[in-house]
C-alpha cells in the first residue's frame, strides 16, 4: 500500500476522532452537576465510535460520494470517512436548523443526499434500504455500490438474514460490513452469537466472507478493495466482519460496570501512528500537523453549529409529507 493511501487512512481516523472528542466535550459540558440526558447543548443518547475508526476509514477509502453508505446508531466515523460535510453533521447533532436534517433527525438519523449516506437507530434495519440503493444503481446501469453496516449484535436480527440472502440472490452491488466490537450494550458476543465469526455466515448465502482481526485499518482496506471491486464488476455482495473495539462505552453515560476488560483495549489510532512512524511514513511533526488540521475543521464545524439558529417551534409540523 502506498504511503499516500496510508496517510489518508490515518487522516480520516484522526478527523473522526477529533470530531467525536469535540462532541464528547460539549455533550457532557452542560449536563452537570446532576447528569441529565435531556439537558445541554447536545441532548439525547450519544453513541460514539471511538476505536472503530479503522472500519470506516478502510472501507470508505474505496468509495466516492456517488456510492451509498447506510450506517448504524453509531454512525459518525462512517459519515465522516464517507465525506459528509462536517458543518452539517455538527449542526444536526446540536439540533440546529442548519443541520443535515434541520434538527429533525439527530445523531442516529442522518440522511445526506449528497453522499448517499443514511443511518438508523434500529439495529440491522439499515441493511434493507441499502439493497434498494444498490438495486437502483444497478438498474441505472452505474457501477456504484452500497455499503451497509451493522454491529455484531445486530447480526442476530432477522433483517440481517433476509438482506444478505436477497442481495446474493439478486447479485446486488452491496458490501455488508459487521463491526464486531465484542459487545452489544452489556451483552458480550458469546452471549448473543452462536458462532465465533460472522464471516462464516457468508457461506449461508453463497457469498464471500472475510474477517479482519486486530482492528487493522489496512486489513480492512484490503478486504474492502476486493469486495467493492467485485460489487462494481457485477459479481454481487460480500460480507466483511472486522474485529474492532468500543473505547468509550455503549453510549455516553454508560458506566460499563458489566465489563472488566477495559484495561486491555488498544486504541487503534496511536497504534497506527507508531506503525506508520516506524515505517517512515509519518513523523511526529506531520502527525501534529494532521491533528491540527483535523481540529481546525472540527472547530469550524462546531463553531458553525453553535452559532446556527435553533429550529422554530412553529415549524415542528413541517416535513411530515413532501
Amino acid at each position: 500500500m502506498d504511503s499516500q493511501t496510508r496517510l489518508g487512512l490515518y487522516k480520516t481516523m484522526v478527523l473522526s476522532r477529533s470530531f467525536e472528542e469535540a462532541i464528547l466535550r460539549d455533550y457532557h459540558a452542560d449536563k452537570k452537576p446532576a447528569w441529565d440526558i435531556g439537558a445541554g447543548l447536545i441532548p439525547g443518547e450519544m453513541h460514539l465510535s471511538a476505536g472503530q475508526e479503522p472500519v470506516a476509514a478502510g472501507v470508505c477509502a474505496h468509495l466516492t460520494a456517488d456510492d451509498a453508505v447506510t450506517a448504524t446508531h453509531r454512525p459518525h466515523h462512517f459519515a465522516i470517512a464517507h465525506g459528509m460535510d462536517l458543518r452539517l453533521l455538527a449542526a444536526e447533532i446540536f439540533g440546529r436548523e442548519t443541520g443535515l436534517g434541520k434538527g429533525r433527525g439527530g445523531h442516529m438519523h442522518l440522511f445526506d443526499p449528497s453522499t448517499h449516506f443514511s443511518c438508523s437507530g434500529i439495529i440491522a434495519e439499515g441493511y434493507p434500504p441499502a439493497l434498494g440503493q444498490a438495486f437502483a444503481f444497478k438498474r441505472q446501469g452505474k457501477d456504484r455500490v452500497a455499503v451497509a453496516v451493522t454491529g455484531e449484535g445486530a447480526a442476530n436480527q432477522g433483517g440481517f438474514h433476509e438482506s444478505v440472502n436477497l442481495a446474493s440472490l439478486w447479485k446486488l452491488p452491496v458490501v455488508f460490513v459487521i463491526e464486531d466490537n465484542d459487545w452489544a450494550i452489556s451483552v458480550p458476543r458469546d452471549s448473543s452469537t452462536s458462532i465465533r465469526s460472522n464471516a462464516v455466515r457468508a457461506s449461508s448465502y453463497g457469498i464471500r466472507g472475510a474477517r479482519i482481526q486486530d482492528n487493522s485499518v489496512e486489513g480492512v482496506w484490503d478486504a474492502a478493495k476486493t469486495a467493492i471491486e467485485k460489487a462494481r464488476a457485477g459479481e454481487g455482495p460480500s460480507l466483511i466482519e472486522v474485529h474492532t473495539v468500543r473505547l468509550w462505552g455503549h453510549f455516553e453515560g454508560d458506566a460499563q460496570a458489566y465489563r472488566d476488560d477495559l484495561g486491555s483495549l488498544i486504541d487503534p489510532i496511536p497504534a497506527y501512528a507508531s506503525q506508520l512512524e516506524s515505517d517512515g511514513v509519518l513523523t511526529t511533526e506531520l502527525a501534529g500537523k494532521i491533528l491540527k488540521e483535523a481540529k481546525r475543521q472540527v472547530d469550524d464545524a462546531v463553531e458553525f453549529a453553535k452559532s446556527s439558529p435553533l429550529p422554530s417551534a412553529a415549524d415542528a409540523e413541517k416535513y411530515v409529507f413532501a
Binding site: A68, T70, G99, L100, G101, K102, G103, R104, G105, G106, H109, F111, P113, H116, S118, S120, G121, I122, E125, Y127, P128, P129, A130, L131, G132, Q133, A134, F135, A136, F137, R139, Q140, A146, G158, G159, E162, S163, N165, L166, L169, W170, K318, Y319, V320, F321, A322
Partner: protein, 345 residues
Amino acid sequence: MVLIDTSSASVTTRKLTTAKAMVEGISQEMELDQSVFVLGEDVGAYGGIFSSTTGLLEKFGPKRVLDTPISETAFMGLATGAAVEGMRPIVELMFVDFFGVCMDQIYNHMAKIHYESGGNVKVPLVLMTAVGGGYSDGAQHSQCLWGTFAHLPGLKVVVPSNPFDAKGLMISAIRDDNPVVYMFHKGVMGLPWMAKNPRSLGAVPEQSYEVPIGKASVVRTGKDVTIISLSLSVHHALDAADELATQGVDCEVIDLRSLVPLDRGTILESAGKTGRVLVVDEDYKSFGLSGEIAAVICESDPRLLKVPFARLAVPDVPIPYSRTLEYAVLPTADRIISEIKHLMG
C-alpha cells in the same frame, strides 16, 4: 377534483373489475415512467394472489416485475432505498396481516425518513396490500388494520372501494412523492373465485386519470342519516341505503377513500346536515377509525349530533374462522339497517 370528465364524449370507458382497473393504472404509469417497478411475493408469473399484478410480468419483463423471497423486511426496505435513489417502487405486502414481520421498515424508515431528513429526502413509493375478510380465512388473513397504519405519521393511506377509484387512486399514489399505503379489499376486487359483488365491476376510462388523495366521495346523498364508510363496507352501506329508502329513510353514504389525509370537511358537512352518524368500519372498533371520526365531529361541535354517534365495526375480537362467527363480527347490510333504524329512533 377528479381530473377526467367521464361525461365528456372523448372519454372511452369499459366495464372493468377493480383488480383490472388497478393493474391498468399500474401498467399505464409503468409505460410513462421507467422508474416505476413492482416487487413482492408472487407478483410475477402468478400475477398477484388477488390479481393485483396480472399480466405485468408478461408486459414489462422480470427486470421491472420481481418476485421476492418471503423476506418482507428485506424487500420493504429495498423499496424504500430504491425510492430514495429516485425510483418509484410499487411493493406488495401480500396480506396486510403480515405487517408485523416488516413494520419496522414501514413505520420507522419508509414513513419517517422524509421528516428526519428535514425534507431533504423523498420516499415516493406505493405499498399495496390486500385487506379484509368474509371468506373464512381466519384471524391471520382477514384483517383491515387501516387504523393501525393511519395512526402512525408519515404514511398516506388510501382505500378504494370500486374500479374507477382503484385506477385513479393508484395513479395518484404512484405519482405522489410520499409513501402511500394502498389497501385493497379482496371483496372489492371482482375476483372470479370470491363471492360476486356487482359494485366490483364498473365503468373505467381507458385514459390515465388521477383520483385525488384526501378527498372523500359522497356516493349517495340523503338527508336523514350519514353513513361514513370505506372499502367493501361502502357496498354494504349502499345496499342498506337502498333497502332503507323503501322504508322512507334517506341515507347519505360517504366513501372516505383515504384515511390519511382524512377529509374532515366532507364528514362535518354531512354530519351537520343529517345530525345522525353511523360509521361502518371493517377494522377493529376501538382505538381506530371510528373513534377518530367521533373526535372530528365532537371537537368541531358535539351539537351537530342530534342522536348519539354510532359505529358498526369488528368488536375487538380476532376474526373468527367459522362462518357463523365471522359474519357475527363483520359489518353486514343487515346490521347496518338495524343500526340505522336504531338511530332513527
